[in-house]
Amino acid sequence: MPRAAGTAQTARLASAPAAPLPSPAGLPARAGIGFKSEHAEELKKGPASIGFLEVHAENYMGAGGRPHADLTALRALYPLSVHGVGLSIGGERPLDRAHLDRLRRVLERYQPESFSEHLAWSTHDGHYLADLLPVAYTGATLTRVVDHIDQVQASLGRRMLLENPSTYVAFTASDWDEVDFITEVQRRSGCGLLLDVNNVAVTCANHGRDPIAYLDAFPVAAVGEIHLAGYAEDHDSLGARLLIDAHGSPVATDVWPLYAHALSRTGPVATLIEWDNDVPALDRLIAEATMAEGYLSAASARREHAA
């Protein structure tokens, strides 16, 4: 594929900021929801008051059947974000070429407005570990992650968004601050960023950091999407709050103000309500999305006022 080969050349320019990759139009600056199969028939009745749908790439890597039939119908009605959970970009081993090929086929078939993946690893020595596992923030990790993103973007022929993680432990080996690390990955790879505000709340609570300072340092110019979700709450061995990125409840009350703060820096940007476990009725999801739309409208108004 000539276009992909050309992109490979551009993306591999050592550590200089990469040239821009072909980038689709992008998601609308509205609130979207994660698509769950139990909502398929309601959503097919016509565009609900939501800005876009997001799906996990891995659910559409089968040969056929209802998943593809549903997504084909819905893709005609809604802007689409494809979100990967299995690429293992932070992995020590080379990327799984077979998985990357499957991913490319999903993107070619559905032509989503956005593709995103995680700053995490999930596969090791051929075993898929079904979680987003943390990476040590070191120079070696940085080089590896940038190489992997280069490879992904070249193979897909498009820019990807990289999501900041929720983490529960830190590594003694880490000598980079998380935001500095993400900033440098973005600068070197030219990727976009997915700012998961729930992950900011979780990670900051779990590592004694100030989430506002985190957001203030975040390289917002590259943000192409925001995620919001609910967390679960636990405690560490000293009784300090330990937040778990659970995606099984409404957006937490302390995440909404962080979202407002994030928007004050990013301006209005596509925002997803992630609710993957104990999935509620579609109305409940749309209610969460409507909350986010309120914040987006306020951010737009501020922007117009300032202009």
Binding site: N59, G64, T123, L129, P134, V169, A170, S237
Partner: protein, 252 residues
């Protein structure tokens, strides 16, 4: 800390947490590491529970989850396609000492594994049953192409009846658990269906799938099971919309 060490610690619940972890407040990193351990095992068990609902109902949730944990830790998925995860669970159940009291458990799991595979298999346009209505007696010379989204299995237990009873079709108490059954799992369009095949039906469909003519496939099935009745098996397969093409015989 290497990812090899981290991954090994995730999959062996009794091993210590990996080296090189730290926490901002001096709390125990091993306790926090257990969040990852729990996430991994729960995600894998939940994936199996979703694929094997009748197996779970037959042995009980607690038993199933313990067995699934043991399986998942010993044989974690080979790819991020969790829909494929569990194809080896039936064999694990067959060798699982604690599952012996439910002798048909592994065979019901085979049926559910087939159902999961068929759900994601390729699409094709199934021939409507009336396509065969005007077909003359020389159907025996024809080769029939099978829908890619199908599977057949033979079991020494009445797996179709057990599966159906758990889905509101019939009573478990009415089933003679000593009867063997053969199953056709088929997804002609978007919904997966399970049909009970007449005796020898699975061998017949396998032989048709291997490219034998209908008559030759009938002979193959009959050789394996003298109770095989070709008309019953063929008409069921036609009604189930198993076929996607008829290649007439070249004899005339």
């Amino acid at each position: 800390m290497s990812q090899a060490e981290f991954a090994a610690a995730l999959l062996s619940p009794r091993s210590p947490a990996p080296h090189g972890l730290r926490t901002w407040n001096g709390s125990d990193p091993a306790q926090r590491f257990r969040v990852y351990r729990n996430n991994v095992v729960v995600a894998l068990i939940d994936a199996l529970a979703a694929t094997f609902p009748v197996t779970l109902a037959l042995c009980g949730e607690a038993f199933f989850r313990n067995m699934a944990r043991e399986f998942a830790l010993a044989s974690p998925p080979a790819s991020p396609l969790l829909a494929d995860f569990g194809q080896d669970l039936p064999a694990f159940i067959a060798g699982h000492e604690a599952a012996r009291p439910v002798p048909y458990l592994a065979d019901v799991a085979r049926l559910e594994a087939a159902r999961a595979a068929v759900w994601h298999a390729g699409d094709a346009t199934a021939l409507a049953p009336d396509t065969f209505a005007g077909f003359p007696s020389d159907i025996g010379e024809a080769v029939l192409k099978l829908h890619p989204a199908h599977a057949v299995l033979s079991a020494p237990y009445p797996v179709v009846s057990i599966w159906a009873a758990h889905n509101g079709l019939g009573e478990l108490a009415d089933i003679d658990l000593n009867l063997p059954e053969e199953a056709l799992v088929i997804r002609p369009d978007l919904d997966t269906e399970i049909w009970r095949l007449p005796p020898g039906g699975a061998a017949f469909i396998r032989a048709v799938g291997a490219g034998q003519t209908v008559a030759d496939a009938a002979m193959t099935a009959w050789a394996g099971n003298p109770a095989f009745e070709p008309a019953a098996a063929l008409s069921l397969a036609i009604r189930a919309r198993l076929f996607i093409a008829i290649i007439p015989g070249a004899s005339r």
